[in-house]
Symmetry: C2
Subunit: 363 residues, 2 copies
């Protein structure tokens, strides 16, 4: 499903429809896609986690809905206002802009940010749009280096000339703000950790292998996933993901690849199904002779999580089943930094080159 | 005290001295400045938190010291190695590079990163050097925008042309990596929160007021504090700090201004004693007509903290005593985002301009 390019119109419609219902003395009703596991499926054809077509109704004259109904219209109204003013704001600012005491009562419109954040996602799903198009931004993190020139809000940024810091990935990377002017890279490596990114940047790995290196600093923010998606789609760059060899790392990979349950309505925009996993795996310990004392013993939570992942449809490929079973068998996990036990530059001079040469990827 | 520009020499000396002690069959001994509250004082003349001259001895033939003694020499040896190789590494990588099982035992040299991190600080203090000079780097965060051209590891970066993202502050901002090529700004505003920085950047506040805007994203990392220090010293920029009106925000300000207890041996390099506090204060609520419902009630911890801060020597100026007492009196705190209740652009169009015009700063 295409994402609406003009949420302004949809916001107006939402308002008009509600008004019409009130004028007809009907119970005002907003239709919302249901965003829980029961309405999610894995679309094997596209390789994406997708939202089903179950719909819920949020109505005004339902005591359980009234407060959320009001909040939904308030968020919609505030978005309309900031779009009209052509400004962008943070989701925390939005919360403060909405917060007020309802006249004649002691009740506040919103009490804490945890109330307004899910309403924003509801609205994105209902209007089939992106938060960024509603002029809202969330936390940002992550950096890029390599042979690409981006245009960021009118400024040309050459990511091959960004020193030790790299280009900081903004919250909003939609084409209205970020365009790719030129890219000569052959592929993109996404690294879980900034320290590893800095290692690769210092070793000029991106220069030697003519690639881009990107880190999301842990679980990538939306802007970061969207950027990976756009770099793959628009620049045809193959994407390789490098994380720790643990359940959290494999989960990060799966979110980059297939999308997440919570934002399943955005999988087309945030997921990159053809991404491949370049490492780290527990099989690498033997393959690369990594000393055992830098591995970390699995705890109860790790074991439970690995057993759950074995059942996930997106970890069904035999290579993943093998890796997860092997992890449970040997009883350890390990972090990317463990490669330092073989030497500070081992990751850029031996580990990654060998992985790339052997095409030693997991699907 | 000047920071040693050549830690390589000092590392060699440390090794030679230890060897000499062993050859003379003496108990090997490393002298370390004591880095706890009892050896800290506030130097009113410089306005900095400073380390006293109490020294402790870490000796090999003391069961309580043996492990730490070994770790100290291991960290020193590894630093010497990476300096010789001219590479930089993260403190996490260092931990992994050191971790191994001691032959003939089941004991590991280091068990977790919490063991190696304080050793690095010990070594910095003992050798009178900076972690960055030992080629170690820690987490980085924070961004800068405005009329300054920096040279970052050989690349020229114009912070007035960095789009929506800004220049990402690297871990190491020492003159070996970062130099200032040109700066035409009149002052520097340090903002606690990235969302507020993005607001100011989007409104091109730095252009209108010919200043730099910098955010440390919460408690600033070392690199960020060092950059503020260098911008003030080398570029003669007055520094104004903007945080939430709460104990945590005021603490962030005090660390930027006076330095911290833990890194008191680096206060000259990390502190900026002439920094001023531009806001937010609880007095601003009445001054700017901020609605009461966006204030947050103080909890027990806030009250305890405010009472402690009233006694700190660096919060003794009457303006701070007044602010802290006022906070306790009205019983609330507030975040910078609370200004959004007056309008999204209120902070850049009304609040900050008024503060600057009235020179309404706290010392």
């Amino acid at each position: 499903m295409p994402v609406t390019e003009n949420p302004d119109k949809k916001l107006k419609e939402l308002g008009k429809n509600t008004l019409k219902q009130i004028e007809k003395e009907k119970n005002p009703d907003i239709e919302l896609p249901i965003r829980v596991l029961s309405n999610i499926y894995f679309d094997e054809k596209s390789g994406l986690v997708r939202l089903g077509d179950k719909i819920s109704h949020r109505t005004y004259l339902n005591v359980a809905h009234t407060r959320k109904f009001m909040q939904t219209l308030m968020v919609a109204a505030e978005c309309k206002k900031i779009i009209d003013q052509d400004v962008t704001t943070s989701i925390r600012d939005l919360y403060y802009a909405l917060k007020r005491t309802i006249p004649g009562t002691k009740e506040n419109t919103v009490e804490y940010q945890g109330e307004s954040d899910p309403i924003i996602e509801d609205l994105e799903a209902a209007l089939d749009t992106l938060r960024e198009r509603l002029h809202l931004q969330a936390d940002r993190k992550g950096y890029v280096a390599g042979p690409i020139v981006v245009n960021d809000a009118g400024d040309r940024i050459n990511c091959a000339k960004m020193g030790s810091s790299g280009w900081a990935i903004p919250s909003n990377v939609e084409p209205e703000v970020i365009t790719f002017e030129k890219c000569t890279a052959d592929f993109l490596i996404v690294v879980e950790k900034d320290a590893i990114w800095q290692r690769l940047n210092q070793d000029k790995f991106w220069k030697k292998y003519n690639c881009l290196i990107l880190t999301g600093k842990g679980q990538p923010a939306r802007g970061c996933r969207r950027l990976i998606n756009r770099m793959h789609k628009e620049l045809k760059l193959p994407v390789y993901v490098m994380t720790d060899a643990d359940a959290w790392g494999y989960y990060i990979y799966s979110v980059i690849k297939q999308g997440s349950i919570n934002l399943s309505f955005l999988s087309d925009r945030l997921g990159t199904p053809s991404a491949k996993f370049i490492g780290l795996t527990t099989r690498d310990v033997a393959k690369f002779g990594i000393p055992k004392n830098v591995t970390i013993k699995l705890n109860k939570g790790d074991i439970k999580r690995a057993n759950e992942m074995l059942k996930y449809i997106w970890f069904k490929p035999k290579e993943w089943q093998d890796e997860l079973k092997h992890m449970l068998e040997v009883g350890y996990k390990l972090e990317l930094e463990a490669l330092s036990a073989k030497g500070i530059k081992y990751i850029s001079e031996k580990y990654l080159p060998q992985k790339i040469k052997d095409k030693d990827f997991l699907p």
